[in-house]
């Protein structure tokens, strides 16, 4: 009994680590620009498809391909921001969500056109084997992905705390006017943030490609997961996203093992509804402005 519990929790944490990387971009973008980037799931799948191409054509290991996909997605994020998202930065929240949603389905359509609606996954040699620790097993792919996610998140953390750009991003998130007053160009910071957010989807997508099967319409289930994580952790809080991801990763595997695999995904939807009902700012979100009606 306990062995199974430990095994379940361990698998959940491994999954949660990767979820954390995927969700970091979403929460970052919201924190600075107050925009829910519903297209984050589509960017994940796009990156997964890039990784697939690199692997089938060049034999490039998917974890190593992060070095390629992350900058590529960064560039894409920057371009998308400048061309489309910048225009609606000052529009009400509802419009920005519609725009990012339009972006998501446009991406889904484009991916379907190029790659067809076929289930794919990337299967490097280690994908089918596991590390053994006593009677517990840890699938190699999951472990490598988890470690990679930690490394990338650490790099992100350093970026946000030690570089000027990072501090500018955090300042803009906390207080846009104040940031402007100290010389931060909000427009460029927003572009930068969006690009960084999409870049994390680049890294996350490469990991996704090994761990899960995907096809263009998979982005819906991914954005649902990410929204659940970000709502639980508190929208705009990076540490919140990490904690939320770990918690939900475990909740998902526990549900899958003890209740039913089929109902595991419901955990994310329920979390969204319950958290927004009881504690809308999530675990670590700070309510600087009253965004809940009395």
């Amino acid at each position: 009994m306990t062995r199974q519990l430990i095994q379940t929790v361990a698998l959940g944490l491994l999954a949660g680590g990767v979820y954390a990387l995927m969700a970091s971009g979403l929460t970052l973008i919201f924190g600075v620009m107050n925009i829910v980037n519903v297209a984050q799931g589509a960017f994940l799948i796009l990156s997964a498809l890039f990784t697939y191409e690199l692997w089938t054509r060049l034999g490039l290991d998917p974890i190593l391909s992060i070095a390629v996909t992350t900058p590529a997605m960064f560039l894409l994020g920057w371009v998308v921001y400048r061309l489309f998202v910048a225009r609606i930065r000052h529009a009400p929240a509802s419009m920005s969500v519609l725009l990012t949603f339009a972006l998501a389905i446009t991406l889904e359509g484009a991916m379907g056109l190029v790659w067809k609606n076929v289930y794919r996954s990337v299967t490097p040699r280690y994908f089918a084997s596991s590390f053994q620790a006593g009677s517990l097993f840890f699938p190699r792919a999951q472990v490598f992905a988890f470690l990679t996610a930690i490394v990338v998140l650490a790099i992100l953390y350093v970026l946000l705390t030690r570089t000027w750009t990072g501090r500018a991003i955090r300042a803009s998130s906390a207080n846009p006017q104040g940031a402007q007053l100290v010389g931060v160009s909000i427009g460029s910071v927003a572009a930068m943030t969006f690009a960084v957010g999409v870049a994390t989807a680049g890294a996350g997508g490469s990991l996704l490609s090994i761990l899960y099967t995907f096809f263009p319409a998979s982005h819906y289930q991914w954005i649902s997961r990410l929204l659940g994580i970000v709502v639980l952790g508190g929208m705009g809080s990076l540490p919140g996203a990490v904690i939320g991801a770990l918690m939900l990763g475990v909740a998902e595997t526990v549900t899958a093992t003890y209740i039913s695999i089929r109902w595991a995904v419901v955990v994310f939807y329920l979390v969204i509804l319950v958290v927004l009902l009881i504690r809308p700012q999530g675990l670590m979100g700070v309510r600087l402005r009253e965004d809940v009606a009395l």
């Binding site: 289930y119 699938p139 595991a264």
Partner: protein, 410 residues
């Protein structure tokens, strides 16, 4: 404030009705020449989620049309196919079939791919009292509506697809027969019912179910399932798989080091080299599967179909999609009925099909009063790195059956 909106609206409605009237006028110029082509209409998912099998079904229809026209057509008239694309969307397929019937005025209908599309489409056909033969509509609820004009052109519904396998298991002497069974299945309307069918038959024969779980379609990691099967000690494993999950379960079973006495999988093992490469060709030995069609089966016209398909579309024999063959067979049934009745009277055609057996490239097909077929799928098994048909005896390519399943090669 709403003035402009209302006027624009009225204008639009008027425009549409005029356009509609024009559209109708075009097709009402009908001559009475006897060499006028025979129009057969169908809406297929050429785009969207079901585009792969949908396109394959279209190929099957086209090969059939070419062969029929080469032999002089149907009722002496050349056959012309009117195929629409429903984009795997339910609303579109309903309006497509309405359009085929009332606008294009086709003489005969052929069905679409996937029960999800065929169920609403067949309702349209039934309302209009037109024969509807579908190449892929094996879902359990397809035949519970008391339709008279609906027919499924495959040997068996999903639940009965694996009957020959179940029968073989039950026919084993009691000391060799597996005592316990595991039934992992993907939550897929085509895979899961097959396993339900096996489970029902084997439980009735006293084989204990020690594992039965359905997993979501995107499950890649089947290690927990393999581990659970190992814990259960099941001697028979019957998996409702699509493709990736079939390969994954084999690899997971190897990983946890468990070899059942016998194993059945849906779909995955029928995919030839793809499957063998995925699991490792040494690991395929003894795995059973069921198919509606095999290029090796010695049924009438089958060799011609294979030849014509390769000539038209190229590729290897082993790559001919099963769905194309199913489409061809559906058209064959229609052809046989028209020939048998000698006219296009839909009611007569329906009655004829209900009371006759039709020889197709899938074997002989006959139907009950709900339109469900009453035969069984071909049972195949991997032997020596090749797929062999082991049942029914009439078309078997191998006289022996590998049992018990040899250990994994790793």
């Amino acid at each position: 404030m709403q003035r402009g909106g209302l006027k624009a609206l009225v204008g639009l409605v008027a425009l549409m009705l005029v356009a509609g009237a024009c559209g109708k006028a075009k097709t009402s110029e009908q001559g009475q020449k006897s060499k006028k082509p025979l129009l057969i209409g169908a809406s297929l998912p050429l785009t969207g989620d079901f585009s792969e099998p949908g396109s394959a079904a279209k190929q099957g229809y086209e090969v059939w049309r070419d062969m029929v026209n080469k032999a002089g057509g149907l009722l002496g008239r050349p056959v012309k196919l009117v195929i629409r694309d429903d984009a795997s969307d339910q609303n579109t397929i309903v309006s497509d079939y309405n359009r085929l019937i009332s606008q294009d005025k086709v003489d005969l209908l052929l069905g679409s791919f996937s029960s999800l599309l065929n169920i609403p489409a067949s309702a349209v056909a039934e309302r209009n009292q037109k024969v509807y033969i579908c190449p892929a509509c094996g879902s359990p609820d397809m035949f519970s509506r008391g339709f008279h004009f609906l027919f499924f052109a495959q040997p068996a519904r999903a639940v009965h697809q694996a009957d020959l396998f179940s029968e073989w298991v039950v026919s084993l002497p009691a000391d060799q027969r597996p005592k316990t069974a595991a039934y992992p299945a993907q939550d897929d309307p085509f895979a899961a019912p097959v396993i339900d069918g096996i489970k029902e038959k084997l439980e009735a024969a006293g084989i204990k179910t020690v594992y039965a779980k359905v997993y979501p379609p995107d499950t890649t990691n089947l290690d927990p399932i393999a581990s659970a099967i190992k814990s259960s000690g099941a001697q028979l494993v019957a998996q409702g798989s699509v493709f990736e999950d079939g390969v994954a379960l084999v690899r997971s079973l190897i990983k946890v080091g468990y070899n059942p006495k016998t194993m059945f999988q849906t779909t995955a093992p029928s995919l030839g080299a793809q499957y063998a490469n995925g699991v490792g060709s040494g690991n395929t030995e003894g795995i059973f599967y069921a198919v509606s069609w095999s290029p090796e089966a010695d049924y009438p016209v089958n060799k011609d179909f294979v030849q014509n398909y390769i000539a038209k579309f190229g590729g290897q024999v082993s790559e001919i999609p099963e769905d194309a063959a199913d489409g061809f067979a559906a058209a064959q049934v229609l052809q046989a009925a028209v020939k048998g009745v000698g006219s296009l009277d839909q009611k007569a055609l329906a009655d004829w099909i209900h009371s006759h057996t039709v020889n197709t490239i899938l074997g002989p097909l006959s139907w009950d009063e709900t339109g469900a077929p009453q035969q069984a799928f071909i049972l195949a098994q991997w032997q020596g790195g090749k797929s062999q048909i082991v049942a029914p005896k009439a078309v078997a390519t191998s006289a022996q059956i590998v049992f018990p399943k040899p250990n994994w090669q790793g």
